[in-house]
Amino acid sequence: MAQQTGAPRVATGTAAPIRTTKRVRRRVRMQPYLFLLPSLVFLATFTYYPILFSLRLSLYQASATVAHPTFVGLRNYTALWADPIFRQVVANSFEFLAGTVPVTMALSLTLAMLLNRAHFLTTPFRTAFFYPTLLPLIGAAAIWLFVYTPGYGLMDVYLHRLVGGGINWLGSPTLALPVVMILTIWKNAGYYMLFYLAGLQTIPAELFEAGRIEGASWWRQFQAITWPLLGPTTLFVLVIASISAFQSVDQIWLMTSGGPDNRTNLLLFFIYLVGFQFFDLGKAATLTVFLLAVLMAIAALSFGFLERRIHYEV
């Protein structure tokens, strides 16, 4: 019966075209969602869900030995605040940020200005500063581990006369963090240099020409032309450098394991320790929420800027 009534309806000349256009229109309307679906499935599973998962788990006391996590409200957060190691870790992370980001940025800007000229040595020089970007951080850390080895490491051998030998760089509470910072600066300066080079190349040469005719000093030109016109680049580098500073972990894992006495223990490394060595799941989730809050704050500070870039840049 159903077939019999269905067949003539399709056969009629007026009904069929309406049906197909409807179907086509629906397919076109569905298509963007189908195209976004693969990405959204993975984003949902590995970006959105883990955020919610961490938020929820941070309200529970949970460890690998306890079968059923118990709801404890905000107690994980208050416990974290009271934890002297956590305070130390936060202080270390901000010290690391303050010690690496401005120095790396100043260095990369300087390098970009020095290497923004036509000369046969420019390309080899740029390569020399850029290549650490391509090295795995863990491989770079393995090399630098030797640089700092007491007794016969490069630091001791070459700085022997200046500072005297036998310094245990990575074992010293005062030197360990700066020493890890130096490696980090070395690794990233060439990468940020590229952004500054790209930025410098967008500044019209006439501006400098005009400055020179007016008799402006080098420093005056820098103040009036270079620095303001590189503003967007500086903000962009500041954001990515800050985000990457808060995610520094590989070099810590290999060089110091957070020591001595937690002096080089940074946020992400602390999450690794708590979650994968101490198996304190509730605390690891709480720490993750904290790190996310820090990253979100950095993002929020720069949001207006980022949005403008993404929406209006051609």
Partner: protein, 278 residues
């Protein structure tokens, strides 16, 4: 009057920048020369860049101490597996954002944006729990899966797709191309430089990644080179076998360095481009 002054300036420039550049490459040079130093020659000489009788003995030993072939293989599968899937997901999503009108586009775009701020590295702990419950611990798929969607790649490609002339797209659909055929025949060929740039950045990033593969694997079955190098370094460090560590490090960093030297321009442009549009 002017020319000698300029010459002096250039020489000074070359001297200062050259000295700094030398400091920058010194660790790498040291790693190379030390890896070639015969096992017996240690002591204070180890800090010099001169090798008296270069030998490959360290490489032989390092190669025997760690399963580098297996590690290379795992890394290649992981790196190209991620890239292959990413190219599909970002192409489809970028096309939708660049050329299609649909309800919720702004909101979905912002949701994508979130991944740029909340990088996967910050989510190692919850994502480990997810990979674990999916039964993917100790697998290469477990290492790859969080990276299959890339907001960064989507944005990069969306910008490129927006610049594709409408006329070309219309011509393709008049010729009877479906949307997918249009993407394949019109959009992707025009986006080749972007695709190359994204691929280089993606491969370098995932080749070098360490902490995530470390926590996902606890045997050599699925481990990548960086994880292998880390455990290798830790065991050799205790014996202060620096020539061995240097050889292991060279084995791990060499593939990317060689490709970089061959395609230097492309690499530098890709990384520059990635930042400009990221």
């Amino acid at each position: 009057m002017r020319r000698p002054k300029a010459l002096l300036g250039t020489s000074l420039w070359a001297l200062v920048v050259g000295a700094l550049a030398f400091i920058w490459v010194f660790p790498l040079l040291w790693a190379f020369t030390t890896s070639l130093r015969p096992p017996g020659q240690l002591g204070s000489q180890i800090a010099s860049l001169w090798v008296h009788h270069p030998s490959l003995a360290n490489f032989k030993e390092a190669w025997a101490d760690a399963p580098f072939l297996r590690l290379y293989y795992n890394t290649a599968v992981v790196v190209f597996g991620i890239l292959g899937i990413q190219l599909i997901t970002i192409t489809l999503a970028a096309y939708a954002f660049a050329r299609q009108e649909f309800w919720g586009r702004e909101l979905l775009f912002r949701l994508f944006l979130l991944q740029l701020m909340v990088a996967p590295a910050a989510l190692i702990f919850p994502n480990f729990q997810t990979v674990k419950s999916l039964g993917l611990l100790n697998t290469r798929l477990g290492i790859m899966i969080p990276y299959f969607a890339s907001a960064f790649g989507t944005f990069l490609l969306r910008q490129t797709f927006r610049a594709v002339p409408r006329d070309l797209e219309d011509a393709a659909s008049i010729d009877g191309c479906t949307t997918l055929q249009t993407i394949w025949n019109v959009f992707l060929p025009l986006a080749k430089p972007t695709l190359v740039a994204f691929s280089i950045v993606s491969v370098v990033y995932h080749y070098n990644e360490f902490l995530w593969p470390l926590i996902i694997t606890d045997t050599d079955r699925a481990r990548t080179v960086t994880v292998g190098l880390a455990s290798f370094t830790q065991s050799a460090e205790s014996g202060a076998q620096w020539n061995l560590i240097a050889a292991g490090t060279v084995i791990v960093i060499l593939p990317l360095l060689v490709i970089f030297i061959l395609f230097q321009r492309r690499f530098v442009e890709s990384f520059m481009f990635s930042g400009l549009k990221g």
